[in-house]
Amino acid sequence: MILLKTETTPDDKTPKLIKESIEWLEWFGLLSPTGVLAAILFVLIFLYFWKPEVLGRLRLFVVGIFVAFKWARKEKVKRTIELDISSDSKQINKEIGIELLSFEPDIKWVGQTTREEFIKGNKVIIRLDYHDDKNRTYALAALGFVRKSLLHVSKRYVPEEVIESSNLIVTRKILEKHNVEALNYLHTEVLIPLLKSDQKIREMYDTLIELENKAMFYQIFLPELFRMGLLLNPKPISTETLQKEVRGLIEFLFTIATKEYDEIVPLRHRSQFFSIAIIIVARSETLTALGISPYVKRVSNALKEGYKNIYILAYNYKRKDARKIAERFKNNSLVESVHPIEGKVYHKNFEKHKECVCIVIKAKNIMVEENRETS
């Protein structure tokens, strides 16, 4: 009480700002024990609704203090897996602008039961450890979650080796943010044996890695597969057609990803399910001499020719120009949305990387609207 009294009656030497702050705090009743409790409660409620991840991290920190107890170890395993995986999934979804990973993990601990009850429940129970196999637990949980969640709708239309390779790349991305040791486990115990034993997956993994290193995997490839799933679901399509379509897309992107600086390769791809135009803002000479107008014209032409998704790729300082180009199409009558996705492009020796932006200009589905009007 004495302490509170001295705090709440500042002497004349106290700066005016502090004095006023104390007066305000007093006015709100925040200097009384009840006020402090109310403030803490308010902050917790605020975090629960607006920043649940921050509250989750706070809870994890508190639990971490008590790891000598079993309940805390158990809680830590559950919360770490749930929090890290779901925050990364949300981050990936936010960056790409689509629900690529459409679920959140929810670990339910199973306690003692009876044999009859267990058989009746008909559940698959897996073991999650804290001690020896912490990294293994984490790596396998992340892989299991990605396998279930990635391209949830589209995966039935995509060849198995493409899905499995994509799962591995996305799991790697999740692990490299939070748990490097689990990532090492994934490499040595999962990735290398799998790639050694399955040639199809190895070839596909190498191809998709090439796309990832050129900022085309998360930015173009996965979103295209995602949209294809939405378009096709639940229509029955022959496997042969789908294989051909997906392979065609991969080949198109791979040719661009591996091209030399001056090499001319096709930058447009139109097939039964994909309609893509890629515009690379790369030539400094063009930008210096003519500005962004040639690129604006290319985007306009692609829209007029009916391409559904136009991707503008630019690196380092040219990202600014790419944004200017995209800005011109924000209110265009043919455009549905404009969404930038950041990324990194790696050199062959991985010594350096370039910052990259891929801006997706999604065209309106004019044909469908026209058909609706006429019908």
């Binding site: 959140e104 339910k108 008909n122 559940k123 073991r127 299991g144 279930k148 799998l194």
Partner: protein, 100 residues
């Protein structure tokens, strides 16, 4: 004042609606047993002694399941099956619905 209160009420309603949608977001349910609870759990489903006595084989790869390499347990045609921690077996568990 009335305007401020009605705006706040509107914002609160909007927030509750959005929050409800967020909470409804799909979840992948993982039924798990904590490593340190494995013995009482296996005892409760009468699988502890068969495993300790080396009588249980992995339902996927047919290798012997021990307390150290035990990964998963599930029901198949009314029978309890156990699976070891080999990666291929783990993949089969995912197929069988370990992440539902």
């Amino acid at each position: 004042m009335v305007r401020i209160i009605s705006t706040l009420v509107k914002l609160f309603r909007q927030f509750i609606k959005e929050e409800g949608e967020r909470l409804k977001m799909n979840k992948v349910e993982v039924n798990a047993v904590f490593g340190e609870d494995i013995i009482p759990f296996l005892k409760s489903i009468e699988m502890y002694y068969p495993i300790v006595n080396g009588e249980v084989l992995c339902a996927e790869c047919a290798s012997q399941v021990t307390l150290q390499n035990f990964l998963s347990v599930y029901v198949d045609n009314g029978e309890i099956k156990v699976c070891c921690d080999d990666l291929r077996c783990y993949n089969s568990m995912i197929e069988k619905g370990a992440f539902e």
